[in-house]
Symmetry: C2
Subunit: 361 residues, 2 copies
């Protein structure tokens, strides 16, 4: 049997919690396009969205409300919900024997929760004392696959990162606000007088200032000593995923007027000397990475060349002129796909493979 009629009786059952959100929507598309390893796929959302019908694997599925019963018979649950919803409900699902793959920030730095990027540290997913596996923040994710490959060869010592983050990192509301603002500034002379953008745009939505024709050096909430939560996430999550507890990391996070796909300018310092050629070879061969690096022919990644694709794109690979152990790169990754939904799906598939392996020895 094939397709919709496949015999799914011996396959693990999956729940998608937060199925109606920006990331959830991308996730249903990804689940429909990837090799199908799942029995039932149950769609879960807030009570407000219960009863809606969404398409996954070409089938209409009715959304059920988040409750303890929603996890009955479910082997793996992907969570794409706000931190506080994950904090409450992931342990409830885990207590029922469901393995939770969580995309919120609630558990990422929990010592008993692995933080997993399959191309970098797949083995970590097997040790999960709380029954929860965390998915990294989308900004960390945009660079970590490429850095993991370079680290394997050269030994990473320090990172200096500046981000160029897309509006959709703030969800569907971010996309809508940027589209509205872009329509408002089009055909105007805005951008030539201090504050003329603020005069035109009063609703900055999820952003700290107007974003169209602007750059906003802020993402997340204020933490100690002037750091933003987003900047600390990039530092702490990079250390955890790479297993480098003492990695030196300095990050400045900036939002720019791009709909989807985060970019990062990365200065990476290694234990050993690097060469441009060897770095390019490693990146060209690394799973999940596309090297797109021929500036003489106009070839370097831009967010719009990358949006909607799965890999991390890397260009502008240079050895630092004044430091033979450092590389300068420009990386782009779709923050809704690999940055969120795709990595969640990949982790869930790792768990599915483990469960199927146990069931059929």
């Amino acid at each position: 049997m094939t397709g919709g009629g496949a015999d799914r009786s011996h396959r693990p059952n999956l729940a998608v919690v937060g199925a109606t959100g920006a990331v959830g929507t991308v996730l249903l598309g990804i689940l429909s396009a990837r090799q199908d390893v799942w029995g039932e796929i149950r769609l879960v959302a807030s009570a407000r969205s219960a009863g809606r019908r969404l398409t996954v694997r070409g089938e209409q599925v009715e959304v059920v409300a988040l409750s303890e019963e929603a996890f009955e018979g479910i082997d793996v649950a992907m969570f794409d919900v706000p931190d506080e919803v994950s904090a409450q409900w992931a342990p409830i699902a885990a207590a029922k024997g469901t393995v939770v793959v969580d995309n919120s920030g609630a558990f990422r730095m929990d010592e008993d929760v692995p933080l997993v990027v399959p191309e970098v540290n797949a083995a970590a997913a097997r040790i999960r004392p709380r029954g929860i596996i965390a998915n990294p923040n989308c900004t960390t994710m945009s660079m970590i696959v490429a850095l993991g490959a370079l680290h394997s060869e050269f030994g990473l010592r320090e990172l200096v990162v500046a981000s160029y983050q897309a509006a959709s990192g703030a969800g569907q509301a971010g996309i809508e606000v940027l589209r509205e603002q872009t329509a408002k500034v089009a055909g105007t002379g805005v951008g030539e007088q201090a504050g003329d953008l603020r005069a035109l745009i009063s609703d900055t939505g999820p952003f700290a200032a107007p974003l169209a024709l602007n750059a906003v050096p802020w993402a997340g909430s204020l933490q100690e000593d002037g750091w933003s939560s987003e900047e600390l996430k990039v530092r702490n999550e990079s250390r955890k995923i790479l297993g480098l507890a003492n990695l030196r990391v300095a990050v400045t996070c900036v939002r720019i007027p791009v709909i989807t796909t985060h970019s990062l300018a990365v200065h990476a310092v290694f234990e050993r000397e690097v060469t441009q050629e060897r770095a390019q070879e490693i990146l060209a061969q690394a799973p999940g990475v596309v090297l797109y690096d021929n500036p003489g022919a106009g070839e370097f990644p831009t967010p719009n060349d990358v949006v909607g694709t799965d890999p991390t794109w890397v260009g502008r690979v240079r050895r630092s002129i004044d430091d033979p152990t450092a590389l300068d790169l420009f990386v782009c990754g779709d923050n809704l796909r690999k940055g969120a939904a795709l990595n969640t799906a990949q982790i869930a598939e790792l768990v599915a493979g483990e469960l199927i392996g146990r069931a059929t020895p």
Copy 2:
């Protein structure tokens, strides 16, 4: 006597070469607004623009064509023209005894030409064997006043810089192309599918890829080992202005959809330990710098808050968590004003002061 009827007979005479360009236009506004130290102000442009009448100091002045005679009786000439025009004409003007303040890239790295930012190295303007003083690239300029102040206290050792450069860095054509592209993407769903922006926009103007709702990691021309000319300018000019021949500098230059005002994320490493508080104090007191740094109240510079103003704005001042000798900052500077026209005017005024001092001992 005051105003238009002022006795200007004992004042130095100024020529503005390239008076009709994007920077030239800003320059005429600046000359009209600043304290007036000039006798005649002669406006010079290509033969094509000769005969046009422009307003400066409230007076209509007819533009004359660039020629040897254009420098007769002129004490100081500001050049805002392409590199090859400066390369040809600045020495001609200098040979007639005119002190040239040049904003092109033609002479910046010439050992016999000082590269001057008055707040940082005003004294260098007095030693000019070729009779030419160079004005830095607008990207270097956007950060160097703030860094000069920090260097005086802590001793600068290394810079890692990522730029967020505005369209007007590529002149009037850059502004027009970004405005056209913004109008084209407004009201569309562009930004959700790889290449949908390239499909809509065929004319990328002075940029290497479509810029609206995008980020383009390229500025200038291709140099050795994958570096762009703009990135090398930031490195080499920073070293020369600060007098630090061995300063380590790594730069990635990126164009973003902003009309005017360059921003930079700067990671600066010093000889001595730094504190956030002392760094903020230094910046708050530095001439030509505005410290705007209270993220809890939504206070950090964005390009649109800075455009049209003179100073370098600095925010997001943080001591690096993993390096007590490093600071992370976000700086913004109007690339047409301090980044070009204003600094040129400031240098010319330094020379005017020197000439007046000689004339009236």
